[in-house]
């Protein structure tokens, strides 16, 4: 039996969900025996490949890059998992949503800048008007709320999905 092709992507989040993923410790070997990690910030691959079976998304959709990436990821993924509150609710990155983007940038790059105040116009992708949860942009198949979701829940959910059963989410919730 060929291995399940697994990818993880990191949009607007703190990487805490990826850390929680790694927190499953030696059980990660059990997962590794059943999947092939084809793309992730944890491994050194630059291009998101085609024909991915499962993609785990951390983070909300905040910038033009996030938007482009999540659409591309969805089009190349069979099962999309929103991991953690930023992906599920927009959470902390979404706290800017009550302000206008210009005001947010002014605050960050002018009012709080000691040297050379300017809004970056190169390399840094432009912010969208609001940070949105992933499922407001593309369809999501599985939601794992939590900030971060506990390692046990991530491990349990992955094993359930690999076994073809419904994950038990009773041990996590918004905020966690």
């Amino acid at each position: 039996m060929s291995k399940v092709r697994l990818a993880t992507v990191w949009l607007d989040g703190c990487s805490g969900c990826h850390m929680s993923f790694l927190d499953m410790d030696e059980r990660i070997l059990e997962i590794a025996a059943r999947v092939e990690v084809v793309y992730s910030p944890l491994v050194d691959l630059k291009e998101f490949p085609a024909d991915v079976d499962v993609t785990i998304v951390e983070g909300g959709v905040s910038s033009e890059e996030d938007l482009h990436k999540i659409r591309m990821v969805r089009s190349r993924t069979k099962l999309l998992i929103a991991l953690g509150d930023c992906a599920v609710t927009s959470n902390v990155p979404g706290m800017r949503n009550t302000f206008k983007v210009d005001d947010v940038l002014k605050r960050a790059y002018f009012e709080n800048a000691d040297l050379n105040p300017q809004v970056p116009s190169e390399v840094i992708p432009r912010l969208l008007p609001r940070t949105r949860p992933v499922h407001e942009i593309v369809p999501v198949d599985v939601f794992l709320p939590g900030c971060p979701p506990p390692a046990d829940v991530i491990f349990g959910a992955l094993v359930s999905l690999l076994d073809g059963t419904t994950p038990d989410l009773s041990a996590t919730r918004f905020g966690r």
Partner: protein
Amino acid sequence: MSSRPSAKPAAPAPSSKVKTLTIDDRLVSAREDESILDAARDNGIQIPTLCNLDGLTPVGACRLCMVEVKGSSRLFASCVTMVGEGMEVVTDSERLQKYRKTIVELLFSERNHVCAVCVSNGHCELQNLAQLLGVTHLTVPYLNPKLPVDASHERFVNDHNRCVLCQRCVRVCGEVEGAHTWDINGRGIGARVITDLNQPWGSSETCTGCGKCVQVCPTGALTEKGKSVREMSKRTRFLPYLTMMREDRSE
């Protein structure tokens, strides 16, 4: 005085009559002045609630305790619907679950409940309800309204971002403390809890600073100053004792 609030008088008052009804196919009896919610709980049947709190007058504000009553197509808030003879009540169905989930989703979408950075994270009744009802995400869009935080009071904070308009603060202040500092201003989605005539809490002439509103608030809307994320746990169990002691005195 050593009796506890749970030890209600063994014999009902002479005027009260007993009604028999079925709740979830179980035959139960209840006093005629009892709500469906109380009758269900007396019989170990749990109905989810948010605005309801033992010791305060029920108002049916949150609608989470809705139940189906045979013979009517509309739903009834069980906290404010009295039992009736021969009533057939259903407290849990696919339809009720769907509506309850939607109510919780709408509460999350109407304000800015950022659980991860909330002082009440881990002690929040809204958070618990989401978990209980299996709300893993919202199917309605977030509104992200711009809402104020009133930190003008010396000891307490009112954060409208976390308010669910349950009116527990309004009721405990009016009914138990007797100060009636809190009220609701506006309607529908524009409704806000206010102090006195919509002035900063710290400038309120009527607030006694007793903190009952803070303790009964189910979320992180009313909190004590100086609490960080996860630190604001509340105590609500004092209420039945207070009301019981007052009833005793008035007898």
